[in-house]
Amino acid sequence: MEFIILILAGVLFATAIYNLLQKQLLRLVIGSVLLSHGAHLFILTMGELKRGNPPILTDGVNDYSDPLPQALILTSIVISFGITSLLLVLAYRAANENNTDNMEQLRGNDNE
């Protein structure tokens, strides 16, 4: 189970990097979303994937799920959700103001 999820996270990272290296602004946004998904899956896997175990440690129960990674992911998901929505607005405005969504033309020049 962990192995499959790790490969999935790897695939997400790879597609994210591919998208981040593109020139179109929207693709960059998609790339950053995929990257955060990859990272979140990765945290989940680090806490061991188990089904049906309680996330608490009581006397006599040796088999329990680790609740911490889930708390970490929740925080991280909220943050990346917020940033993604901000990023979409920002990308929209930047593309509108500069009349292009091509990163090549958004490079900028020191001497303007």
Binding site: M46, I79, L106, G108, D110
Partner: protein, 491 residues
Amino acid sequence: MSNFAVLPIIIPLIAGIILAFFPKKLTLVRTLSKIFMIGNLAVVSYIAWNVFHHGSVILETGGWTAPYGIILIADELSILLILTTNIVAAACAFYAPYSLSDRKEQFYFYSFFFFLISGVSGAFLTGDLFNMFVFFEVLLMSSYALIVLGGDKVQLRESVKYVFINLFSSMLFVTAIAFIYGALGTVNMAQIAQRVQEVDQQGILTTVGILLFFVFATKAALFPLYYWMPNSYAVPNPVISALFGALLTKVGIYAIIRVFSLIFVHETELTHEVFIWIAGLSMLFGIFGALSTNNIKLIIAYNIIPAIGFILMGLGVFNQDALSGSIYYLVHDMLIKTSLFLLAGTIAYAAGTSDLRKFSGLIHYYPFLGWMLFVSAFVLAGIPPFSGFIGKLLLLKGALAGEEIAIVIIALLSSLLILYSVVKIFIKGFWGEKDESFKPKSIKGRTAPIVVLLALSIFMGIGAEFIYPTIESISAYLLDPENYINAVMKE
């Protein structure tokens, strides 16, 4: 007393929320933000006094003891940096009304300003790696809002890049934390340090350490990860540039110092040796950038990179003198970079342009401004008796003791070039014939915050006797990770 550790985070947070309720009433907002800033500065000074006299203030939130709960730890290093942060921020709060247009102020400038300070203080205070990520996000979120404030074409263009690079490094940060959690089963920095020590920092842990270094180096704008920084720091309003230049990159370098003096200290020939080279290259490339441009804001923004290089150099050498130098230089640089950014903003306002080729002879109209710039150039470059000199002296003394001759030569060379790059503004912009057609604008009120910051940095140089013992005790504390671990774990 332990509850005091949370105040530097809570006070700006509450201030930001309160100010968000009536953004249009500018007189009230300005007055309130100044009052909050001074109040926060007073509280932080009180905590700092306590920390320096009675040792670290540690708060275990919710009463959960150390490795299980979230802890906030105000030790000497973090409280010193928070104190400096608040001084810098107070100067910016007093400068802001003159520099920002009413419209920009109405669009929640002061709220984001306080959230930024809250995030910076949190990043300095936290003793938990994941919380450090969260506070990084708090300060980055407010910086995203601040950098785009005004919504010019150029600003939008640069802020897109700024958001992307920071988002990318934040996600790598999360990945690195996942690695650490998977390998060591904890995110508490003291416990991580303890466990890394137990297993002698095996290969995988050094790799994770380098991944973390990559993350923080992106935020701190070190070679070769600085390319996003100069342009995006030069485009916003000067007061926002000053905040970014003084605080954001310094949070990154603080995180590097903390992690590589506490956690990954067992393979110094692998990690810290690399730092020295990165530091040298940052100094050279940063100063080349500063020399290559005629835009005064860009010159100052590029000057951040060599400064970060100097701070990293002390960590790379990793002995008592060098580390003291790093911390001294860190505090010195926060003060002087703010005053330089504010000065550059004032000059650009007075001259009507930030292009050095388009104005000269300002000294006839603004003699005081000119001489302030001249003194700041000397402070920045480290001419005795100013504060940069003490920092550099300690760094070079440490590097010589560590037999790192190459870095000493690079550091001395780049110091000279730093002096030239800033004095260039003075020579080209202030010298020259009096331009009779020039109509001087009033810069009243803008100079006061700069004078205070400059006076403080000069005091740091001349009054080094008073400050040095504190810095020395901080570096001694950092050199032995046991101090931090014992303070947190209470063994």
